[in-house]
Symmetry: C2
Subunit: 271 residues, 2 copies
C-alpha cells in the first residue's frame, strides 16, 4: 500500500488506539516512524514510542494521573513551536483524538496559529475495549444504538442519557455506585447487565460482570482505567468471550478436539 508522505511544518493528531499497540492505524504508525517530534500522552504503549525514529524528539506531556505536567495551553504552545521550526510533529493521543481527547481544542489552536494539521483517527476504547471483552455495542434485536459518555470531571446530567440502547461510560469507575443508581432512577431495569472492563485489550485485561443492582459491589476496589458497558449486549459476552489476555490471541477452548489441534498452529509465511 502506498503511504502518503509526512509534511514538515505540520502537526498530525494521531490516535494511538485503546492499548494493544497493533491497533494503531497503518497511517498513524507510518507518521510516527517519520516524525521529527512526538508529543505523547502518558498512557501510550511503550512499543509505539519505540517505533519512532531514534533521532526523533519524544516529549511526554502527561506524566501522572491528576498531575499533568503540561496544561492544555502548554501543549498547544509546544505543538505550534515545533511546527513553526519546520518539524514534522506527531501528537500521539490515547484512543481517538476526537473522543474525549481534547483534539478539537488542539485543532482550533493550530488553526488560529496558522499551522496546518491532520487528524488521524484511532481505535476508540469505547468500541474496542468492549469488543475484546466479547461485547458488540450493537446487535440485531438486542441494541440498535449506543451512547458514549465520560464519568470524569463535572457533573454528568444522567437525565440527558437515553433510557434505551447500549451505554458506554469511560472514566466512571470511581463513581460506579452513583451512576448505576441514577440509571435505575432514570428508568433502566435494576437487572440490566453491566460489564466493567479493566485495562482492556492488554495482557492485564480483567472483566467484572453484574447488573445495575450489584455491579458497584462486585467491582469495588479495582483501580482505573476501566470501561463500563450497560445494556443487554453486555449479556452477549457469555457467547462471544473470544480473547485470551494471557496469550493476546483467540481462546482455544472452543476448538473441536483440544488446544493441541493441528488446525490451530501459526501459519508459516514467506518473509
Amino acid at each position: 500500500m502506498m503511504a502518503r508522505p509526512i509534511l514538515r511544518g505540520t502537526v498530525y493528531l494521531v490516535g494511538a488506539g485503546p492499548g494493544d499497540p497493533e491497533l494503531i492505524t497503518v497511517r498513524g504508525l507510518n507518521l510516527l516512524r517519520q516524525a521529527d517530534v512526538v508529543v505523547h500522552d502518558r498512557l501510550v504503549h511503550p512499543e509505539l514510542l519505540e517505533s519512532a525514529s531514534p533521532r526523533a524528539h519524544l516529549i511526554d506531556v502527561g506524566k501522572a494521573p491528576g498531575r499533568h505536567t503540561c496544561s492544555q495551553d502548554e501543549i498547544n504552545r509546544i505543538l505550534i513551536q515545533y511546527a513553526r521550526q519546520g518539524r514534522a510533529v506527531v501528537r500521539l493521543k490515547g484512543g481517538d483524538p476526537f473522543v474525549f481527547g481534547r483534539g478539537g481544542e488542539e485543532c482550533l489552536a493550530l488553526a488560529r496559529a496558522g499551522v496546518p494539521y491532520e487528524v488521524v483517527p484511532g481505535i476508540s476504547s469505547a468500541i474496542a475495549v468492549p469488543a475484546y471483552a466479547g461485547i458488540p455495542l450493537t446487535h440485531r434485536g438486542v441494541a440498535g444504538q449506543f451512547t458514549v459518555v465520560t464519568g470524569h470531571g463535572g457533573a454528568v446530567d444522567w437525565n440527558s442519557l437515553p433510557a434505551e440502547g447500549t451505554l458506554v461510560i469511560l472514566m466512571g469507575v470511581e463513581r460506579l455506585g452513583e451512576i448505576a443508581a441514577a440509571l435505575v432512577e432514570r428508568g433502566r431495569a435494576a437487572g440490566t447487565p453491566v460489564a466493567v472492563i479493566f485495562t482492556g485489550t492488554t495482557h492485564a485485561q480483567h472483566v467484572v460482570d453484574g447488573t445495575l443492582a450489584d455491579i458497584a459491589d462486585r467491582a469495588r476496589g479495582i483501580a482505573p482505567p476501566a470501561t463500563i458497558v450497560v445494556g443487554p449486549v453486555a449479556g452477549l459476552r457469555a457467547g462471544i468471550d473470544w480473547f485470551d489476555p494471557s496469550q493476546l490471541r483467540p481462546r482455544t477452548a472452543t476448538l473441536p478436539g483440544d488446544a493441541f489441534s493441528p488446525l490451530h498452529q501459526p501459519v508459516k509465511v514467506a518473509a
Copy 2:
C-alpha cells in the same frame, strides 16, 4: 513492532475502516497479508484487497446494495467451511465489525460451530467520517456525549434518542426529512447545526451544512453512503475543516505565507 502470527483454522473479523485504506489497523493489514481466504464486503477499498497475498482466495459476499448475493447464513457457512479446512480466514468488513456490522452474529455462529475467531476492531465511520469533515464528536463545553444510530431498516424509535449531545446517524440520508422533523418534535431546536458527509475520508468527500430546519432541502438528491451529524459540534467545522479531499492531505490555505512555503514540503526519509 512484533506482529502476532495468524493462526490456521481461525476466522479473523477485521474492520477495514471508513474508506481511506491507510486507516486499517496494523494488525488488520498484517492478517490480511497472511490470510489464505478473504471474505469481504462490497464497500471495502480495492487497495486493501490488493494487499492480500496473490495466492489468497478472495470471496465477495455483498455484490450490490439491496441485492446481497449472500445471506448472513451463507456467509456464516463460508467462514465455518474454510476454517474447518484449516485455512486462515479474514472476514473483512467495512468500518468496525461490532458497529452495525453484524459481527456479533458471525461470532455466535462461529462459537456454536466450535471455530476459534478473533475480533480486530476497525476505525468506525461514525467517528472518523465526522473527523475528516472537521467535526469532533465531543468538545469541552459543547458536547459531552454522543449517540450513534442507524437510519436503515426497521422503524427507529426517535423518542428513544437523547435530546442532548451529538447524534450520528449512519445510513439515514434517504429519510433525512423524516429524521430531522422527528428530532425537532423530540425537543431539539430547529436551528441545531447538521452536517451530511458523503463518501467521507475519500477523494470524493463532499459535505452539506445546514440545520434541522433546512438540511433535507439542502442535501436533496445526493446519493448514499452518507453520515449525518446533528448537534452544536457540527458548527465547529468552520474552524477545523482541515481535510483537502483532492489531495488527501491537510489544506494549505491556513499556512503563513502560501502553499509554496518551504515548511510544507514532504520530509525525505531513509528507506
